[in-house]
């Protein structure tokens, strides 16, 4: 089955995504796109399929049916490594950092800078320390010592470092999976600041959460998912915070927006 890219300008365009785990249909034909330099809030109640959709995009799961376009190219993403090669950086809920390793080593994990002595490659520890401190400072995270282990830090600090790393390495797309679920109010605000910093660096951001209050402030557009289907795309100008919250809870599009949505669907 051949797919065509629908949104010609989008950075990511996922079309008719199906994902079945055995007989369980988690995603049932979702269209999802992210424009360039846009912050998209991917919303939905627990179990709606947000994380699965993202794991399909980042190569953790292979898709059952559908097609992904990235940067106007049809791509097949089979592993996290492939996603990274494309320029997609992800901050996972619980898979962000290795607690027993130092900040610098976590920061560079998987793409360590090395210098060569004959045929051997050794870690460039000085550069790792210097660059990680500098890069984290650039997005507003100030750490004392890059040799400190991550395990000694608070949840917010860890999340900050993971996001700072993703912003530093991310070339095109940054995915934040529930980045604020375990954070205090102040830490949440910081994470939102990093998100805007990433957008200003020219990246697009997918911000996954089930808490609209965290994302309403920074997102340009909301995509709401309900039991494997897409409820709709809404620009920030169209909806209020409360309406979005209602949609997540009830799974119904409010009266006021329904007509407009149908028109847009018809227009395609």
């Amino acid at each position: 089955m051949q797919y065509e890219q629908k949104n010609s300008d989008a950075l990511v365009d996922m079309i008719d995504i199906h994902k079945y785990f055995g007989s369980v249909q988690v995603l049932r034909g979702i269209d999802f796109h992210v424009d360039r330099q846009e912050i998209v809030g991917l919303l939905g109640d627990n179990g709606a399929g947000k994380s699965t959709l993202i794991k399909v995009l980042t190569g953790f799961h292979s898709l059952t049916r559908g097609q992904i376009f990235f940067d106007d190219q049809a791509v097949n993403i089979h592993s996290p490594h492939d996603a990274r090669e494309l320029g997609i950086e992800t901050v996972h809920q619980d898979l962000a950092l290795v607690p027993l390793m130092s900040i610098a080593r976590n920061f560079w994990l998987g793409q360590e800078p090395t210098y060569e002595v004959g045929p051997f490659k050794f870690l460039d520890k000085k550069m790792m320390a210097r660059e990680s401190i500098q890069a984290l400072a650039d997005v507003g995270i100030h750490i004392r010592d890059s040799e400190e282990t991550v395990g000694t830090m608070s949840g917010g600090e860890r999340q900050s470092i993971a996001i700072g790393r993703a912003v530093y390495f991310g070339k095109k797309l940054l995915i934040l999976d529930e980045p604020t679920s375990a954070l205090s109010v102040g830490e949440t605000q910081k994470v939102l600041d990093y998100t805007i910093a990433a957008k200003e660096k020219g990246m697009s951001v997918i911000f996954i959460t089930h808490n609209i209050r965290h994302v309403y402030e920074v997102a340009d557009r909301f995509t709401i998912i309900e039991r494997g289907h897409k409820l709709g795309d809404f620009h920030k100008s169209e909806v209020t915070e409360n309406e979005v919250a209602d949609m997540i809870v009830t799974g119904q599009i409010p009266e006021r927006l329904r007509l407009y949505e149908e028109e847009e669907e018809g227009g395609d």
Partner: protein
């Protein structure tokens, strides 16, 4: 108090001067020791002749060390005298060192006395009655006081435990928790704990006194030499004043933040902070404690023959422990190493006696390579099974442990031992042209020169930078960079000396025998006995005593440790190993190929086990089908003592080295001390638990 002294207050000048004088006294003591050793008044070797002119190497070292110590003391005392603030930091260190020296001397008396006394008590059941009957004697008095004090302590502790049990373990007493009495039990006042500890300590001291009085009366079984009792006085002389002064010289408020921070880091804190950074802190502490303990408990422990024997015994297991550490850091586990060792040893021997499948009967080197290839396959089987089935590695390797063992059992029917000498008349030899040695030496020279070229300028810059900071601040702190570069330069010099010596020896051999080919036994090359280092007349010549069993595998082991340590800590492969064990999901999300890392580690373990099997076979050219049974748990014990976490993500190769050394020291030392060797496994069990608790404590200290 010291702050007042530095501010020039009059009333504090006495105490400041006292500390300065004390440190000056220690300097004098250092000079006296150096003088005494240099002129033969304090013999440190087995020489009866007092008027000797030649000193042995230990005496040279002691002279040098005590001179350095004396000089440092002098400088510190001068600094204190002139009220130089920075000298406070040095004085802390000098006093700390002195406390340590005094404590070590005291312990070196206490440990043998206590040990011999307890052994005596164990041997003679009526000894206690005999001592008690001797009323009025020092021994009976001390023993009575000691037993009384210790039993008081035990009584109080038991009472407290009972009370605590009553208060906390009986559920409905919620309301009791807020009573003051309950709080006292939950966290007893510091003074109270200190008092109990003091009483306990006094009891132990009384026991020791009783021991010192009684033990010499049983010359047949065991003795305490006069020298040991005389050391007590010297130890007290060192320990008490230094300890007092160390408590007095506390940090002071400084003008500059940096100085204050430098001074706030007392030696105790500094050492603790540095230990906490190392994954093998528990192993380091345990190694030092056990080494010192055995050294003090028996003179036999530092004999070349015992050192050589424990090193040779654990060298092969130590090589395997390196691989197991890698595997454990990546979160997996290998129970099959013992069986892999058996299979590799068997195939190595079999290829040389009965022949390999395609090649027929082969020489030692191809046989070794083929055998190691078989180990590689077995390791790969482990890894592939784990990755493809996702069964826990414990189960996978438990299965392969039994399965691989069957290979040796079937191949050698009837439990025979396959011996090299049954099939060949003499051990294999290889002729090595001295050009090979020469080439090796040239390569070594190149490596040393290259390292020096890369590292020395950086170190020099760091050192000179630190030196200029010191100049500007008038501080004698910030000397880490200087010390580091000095130590590294020294190491380079030693390496250079070794290479030059190698060259000299070779050119000597080359010229004398006209470039003749040197004949070396293959098995000697793998794991031979080293009889001497250098040849007669060389500067480096060292004759190894005939009863010392120094094996070449020790050298290989240390080389492997160095290589694998560098790979683990300074390559991206090492980084991915840590990540795989620390948080597999995070590693995968960051693009680390977790499965490949695990497979590679299983193969590394198997390869190292194969190499160890070659060493074992070369040491004793005969293979028993049950060879290596039980090794897997011993190796895991070494690794765990060395600080590796069973859950993965943490550990070090140096830790596994220390763990193996602790293992070997206990094996040899317990026998030398006179404790039943059957207690060995029990002791190891206690040590494992203690080491892991220590490691956990240190890691906890790091996180707070």
């Amino acid at each position: 108090m010291m702050q007042a002294y530095f501010e020039g207050k009059r009333e504090a000048s006495n105490i400041g001067m006292l500390v300065a004088g004390l440190i000056f006294g220690f300097a004098v003591l250092g000079f006296l020791i150096a003088y005494g050793v240099a002129f033969g008044w304090v013999p440190l070797g087995e020489r009866i002749d007092i008027l000797r002119s030649s000193l042995n190497s230990v005496e040279h070292i002691v002279i040098f060390a005590s001179l350095v110590y004396a000089a440092c003391c002098l400088r510190t005392a001068y600094g204190l005298y002139t009220r130089e603030q920075a000298s406070l930091r040095w004085s802390q260190w000098m006093l700390f060192v002195t406390v340590m020296i005094g404590g070590a001397i005291l312990l070196s008396v206490a440990i043998p006395v206590g040990l011999k006394f307890s052994l005596l008590l164990g041997q003679h059941s009526d000894l206690r009655n005999a001592i008690a009957a001797d009323t009025g004697g020092l021994a009976s008095m001390a023993l009575a006081i000691g037993e009384a004090l210790i039993s008081i302590c035990l009584f109080v502790i038991a009472l407290l435990a009972l009370l605590a049990l009553l208060v906390f373990l009986i559920p409905p007493l919620e309301s009791l928790r807020d009573r003051p009495g309950a709080r006292l039990i939950a966290s007893p006042p510091r003074k109270f704990v200190q008092a109990i500890l003091t009483v306990l300590f006094a009891g132990v001291v009384c026991f020791l006194v009783a021991g010192a009085a009684v033990v010499p009366e049983y010359p047949g079984q065991t003795t305490i030499r006069d020298a040991e009792n005389h050391r007590l006085l010297a130890g007290l002389l060192f320990f008490l004043p230094a300890f007092f002064a160390y408590r007095v010289v506390r940090q002071v408020e400084e003008q500059s933040d940096e100085l204050r921070r430098a001074l706030a880091l007392t030696p105790g804190k500094y050492i603790r902070a540095n230990l906490a950074k190392s994954p093998s802190a528990g192993a380091i502490i345990g190694f030092i404690a056990i080494f010192m303990g055995f050294t003090m408990a028996t003179d036999l422990f530092l004999e070349p023959s015992s050192v050589a024997s424990f090193l040779s015994n654990v060298a092969t297991k130590g090589v395997i422990a390196i691989g197991v550490t890698y595997l454990m850091i990546s979160g997996e586990f290998d129970l099959s190493v013992g069986s892999i060792l058996g299979v590799t040893a068997l195939s190595f021997m079999n290829f040389m006696t009965h022949g390999a499948p395609v090649f027929g009967v082969v020489g030692p080197v191809p046989a070794a390579l083929l055998a190691i290839f078989i180990a590689f396959i077995l390791g790969a089987i482990n890894g592939v099974l784990l990755i493809s089935t996702r069964i826990p590695s414990f189960i996978v390797t438990l299965g392969t442990m039994l399965a691989f063992r069957a290979i040796t059992l079937v191949a050698i029917a009837g439990g025979r031992i396959l011996r090299y000498s049954d099939h060949h008349e003499s051990l294999p030899v290889i002729g090595i042209s001295n050009i090979v040695f020469l080439a090796l030496a040239v390569v070594g020279l190149g490596v040393v020169a290259f390292t020096a070229y890369r590292v020395l300028p950086v170190l020099y810059r760091g050192a000179s930078h630190a030196w200029s900071i010191r100049r500007n601040n008038g501080d004698f702190g910030t000397s880490g960079a200087i010390v580091r570069s000095a130590v590294f330069a020294l190491i380079l010099l030693i390496l250079l000396a070794i290479v030059v010596w190698l060259l000299a020896v070779l050119s000597y051999h080359g010229s004398a025998s006209g470039g003749q080919i040197v004949e070396v036994g293959y098995f000697d090359l793998f794991n031979g006995r080293v009889l001497q280092i250098g040849s007669e007349g060389d500067f480096f010549h060292m004759q190894i005593p005939r009863n010392a069993n120094v094996r070449l595998a020790i050298v290989w082991w240390f080389i492997f440790v160095a290589i694998f340590h560098v790979v683990l800590t300074s390559t991206s492969f090492g980084n991915s190993i840590f990540a795989t064990g620390g948080n597999e999901g995070a590693a995968r999300a960051q693009g680390v190929n977790v499965d490949r890392v695990k497979l590679q580690n299983f193969v590394i373990v198997a390869l190292l086990t194969g190499i160890a099997a070659i060493y074992e076979t070369a040491r004793n050219p005969g293979v028993d089908p049950l060879k290596g049974t039980g090794w897997e748990l011993e190796v895991i014990a070494m690794t765990v003592i060395g600080g590796a976490l069973l859950t993965g993500g943490y550990g070090s190769v140096v830790g596994s080295l220390l763990g193996a050394l602790i293992f070997g020291m206990l094996q040899t030392g317990l026998v030398l001390v006179g404790i039943e060797s059957r207690l060995f496994s029990g002791t190891i069990g206690v040590i494992i638990i203690a080491a892991v608790v220590l490691n956990t404590l240190v890691r906890g200290a790091r996180q707070n």
